[in-house]
Structures are given as structure tokens and as C-alpha cells.
């Protein structure tokens, strides 16, 4: 994966497949304590302890179309090479939380990439799922909430190209204004 946004796009698919109705993504930039924390929390079907142990094994996957599952192992690898830490918490029937703590100043920390596109495309692909995204820098916190957007849209579908481009602009402009790295 070339950037963090690709990882997010990838891990979000896990949450979608787990049948979530609300998926929360947060990024906290903490340069002072040398941390860049990505959290993805869903309310999907969760995993048992045995499965959690296996998910970062590249040769474990629940899918039947192929025999490898690289999403989480690749994220874990990219976190660990910045001296950071990676954790998964999950409870059957409750949901799953993935926490990736990158070293903020480490040279190997991936570029952030197109977070705006990632969120807009995922939110429009799964109109029945709500996404809640927060991004915190030392300047401010930006909140993107599809519940709010859907309320304002009323009967207009969230997957209309104009709406998708609006969501992209909204996220991109606001991330720039809070000087997201």
C-alpha cells in the first residue's frame, strides 16, 4: 500500500463485510508525543479470541475466493516499521476496533494520501451504512458525519456524482484548513 488512505479503504471493507451499520474512523495527529493514531471502530459482527489471533497472519482469511488475506498484516507491518504499535480489539456480536499507532516523525510513516476520496467513495458505495470521521491536529478537529449529510440531502441519493464530489471537496478543504499532515 502506497499511502494511509489506501489502508483505510482496505480496512473499511472488513467493517462493511462484518455487517456494520456505523463505522467510525479517527485520526489523531500528536507530533509532541510522536504519535499518529488511526482508529477504525465498527459495530459489525465481531470476532472471537481465536480469530483475532489469526487475522494478522497473511495466510488467514475468511473469504473463499482466495487463500491469503493481506489487509491487516500489511497495515501491521507499516505501523511496526515506524516504531509504532498495532492492536485489534473485538467482541463477538459487538464489533471490532483496529488501532494503528504510527511514529509521527518516523521517515517510514506512509504519506496520508487521498482520505477525502476514500471516505466519499466508501460512503457512496454503501448508502445504508453510516460513517463518522474525525481528524484532529494541533489546530482543530474536523468532523465528517454521513448521518448529518443524509439528513440534509433528504431524498437525494448519497451516491449521486455531484454529491460524491461535494463530499470530497468538503473533506479535502477542511483537512487543508486544519493543516492535516
Amino acid at each position: 500500500m502506497k499511502d494511509l488512505a489506501s489502508h483505510i479503504l482496505d480496512i473499511l471493507q472488513n467493517s462493511v463485510t462484518a455487517g456494520s451499520s456505523l463505522i467510525e474512523v479517527s485520526i489523531d495527529e500528536l507530533p509532541v508525543s510522536d504519535k499518529y493514531v488511526l482508529r477504525i471502530v465498527d459495530d459489525g459482527k465481531g470476532m472471537d479470541a481465536e480469530t483475532i489471533k489469526q487475522v494478522t497472519d497473511p495466510f488467514f482469511t475468511t473469504r473463499t475466493t482466495r487463500k491469503v488475506g493481506l489487509g491487516l498484516p500489511l497495515l501491521k507491518q507499516n505501523v511496526e516499521r515506524t516504531g509504532g504499535s498495532f492492536a485489534i480489539h473485538s467482541q463477538l456480536g459487538k464489533g471490532t476496533e483496529v488501532v494503528a499507532e504510527f511514529g509521527f516523525n518516523h521517515l517510514d510513516r506512509l504519506p496520508t494520501g487521498d482520505i477525502a476520496g476514500t471516505l466519499a467513495l466508501t460512503a457512496s458505495s454503501y448508502p445504508e451504512i453510516d460513517f463518522f470521521y474525525t481528524h484532529t491536529t494541533s489546530i482543530a478537529t474536523f468532523v465528517f458525519d454521513t448521518i448529518e449529510i443524509k439528513e440534509k440531502l433528504e431524498s437525494i441519493p448519497i451516491n449521486d456524482p455531484e454529491v460524491i464530489n461535494f463530499m470530497k471537496d468538503l473533506i479535502r478543504d477542511n483537512l487543508t484548513s486544519i493543516k492535516a499532515s
Binding site: M1, K2, S6, L9, D10, Q13, T17, R63, T64, T65, R66, G69, L70, G71, L74, D114, G117, T118, L121, T122, S124, S125, Y126, E148, I149, K152, L153, E154, I156, N159, D160, P161, E162, V163, I164, N165, F166, D169, L170, R172, D173, N174, T176, S177
Partner: protein, 132 residues
């Protein structure tokens, strides 16, 4: 200072989409639209599926072809990523492999518009991802 897009701007977008939708007479059900699913698993993402999806959404809109573009999981053709599955109204889905922006343009012009087949179709006894 440049203007920052805010939620308030959504009102204008809404008005514009509403006008466009009434032109189409709101008669379109998903079944009468072209449906495209972009394989967006680890393999697809790493090969550039997101760029293809972005391209398809914007180009289909520009060319006024009513379509729904969504994501799907891995269809098992990781060697041929990015792959997309195109369903023309009333027809069987077709899976195209090695799709970049150039290929996506050909798929729109030839297959979606005219039903012409072109290179890069993955021949399968098709089963969709949910059916597996």
C-alpha cells in the same frame, strides 16, 4: 483566503441534483441503470482500483450515462486487478480485468454505450461474490 467547502454548500448541490433528477423524470430504478462494481479489496486497491472508480463515476456523469458505481470485495482474480463487473440493464454481468483509465474509457464507449465486446473480459461461469 480560498473558500472552504462547508456543509452549507450542500444546499446548492441538492438543488442542482434535484433539477437533474426531474429531467430524468425519476423513472430510473436501479434495474434500468448500468451497474458497475469495482473490486476493492487489498489486491484491487494496491493496483489502483480507486483511481478507476473515481474515473468511472466522473466520466459516466459527464457523458450522461445513468449508472451506479459501487465497490465490492475480491472476486478472486487478483492477478488481473483492477477488475470491474459491468451489468447492462437486462443482461448478464461481465467481468473486465486489467482496467486502467484508458481501458475504462473503452469499456464506456464500446461496451456500455453499444454493447460491443472488447479484449480483457475474464471468462467465467459467473458467480457473484455474495453467491460464493
Amino acid at each position: 483566503m480560498t473558500k472552504i467547502t462547508s456543509l452549507a454548500d450542500l444546499k446548492n448541490i441538492k438543488a442542482s441534483v434535484e433539477a437533474k433528477m426531474s429531467l430524468r423524470e425519476r423513472s430510473e430504478t436501479p434495474d434500468s441503470m448500468v451497474q458497475i462494481r469495482v473490486a476493492m479489496a487489498t489486491c484491487g486497491i494496491a493496483s489502483g482500483a480507486k483511481i478507476v472508480m473515481d474515473y468511472l463515476i466522473n466520466e459516466l456523469d459527464k457523458r450522461s450515462i445513468p449508472a451506479i458505481v459501487t465497490q465490492t470485495g475480491c472476486m478472486g482474480y487478483c492477478y488481473a486487478e483492477p477488475t470491474i463487473e459491468v451489468t447492462r440493464p437486462g443482461q448478464q454481468p461481465l467481468v473486465f480485468g486489467y482496467v486502467d483509465s484508458k481501458k475504462a474509457d473503452q469499456i464506456i464507449e464500446k461496451y456500455i454505450k453499444n454493447g460491443e465486446l472488447l479484449d480483457g473480459i475474464i471468462p467465467v461461469n459467473y458467480e457473484n461474490i455474495e453467491g460464493k
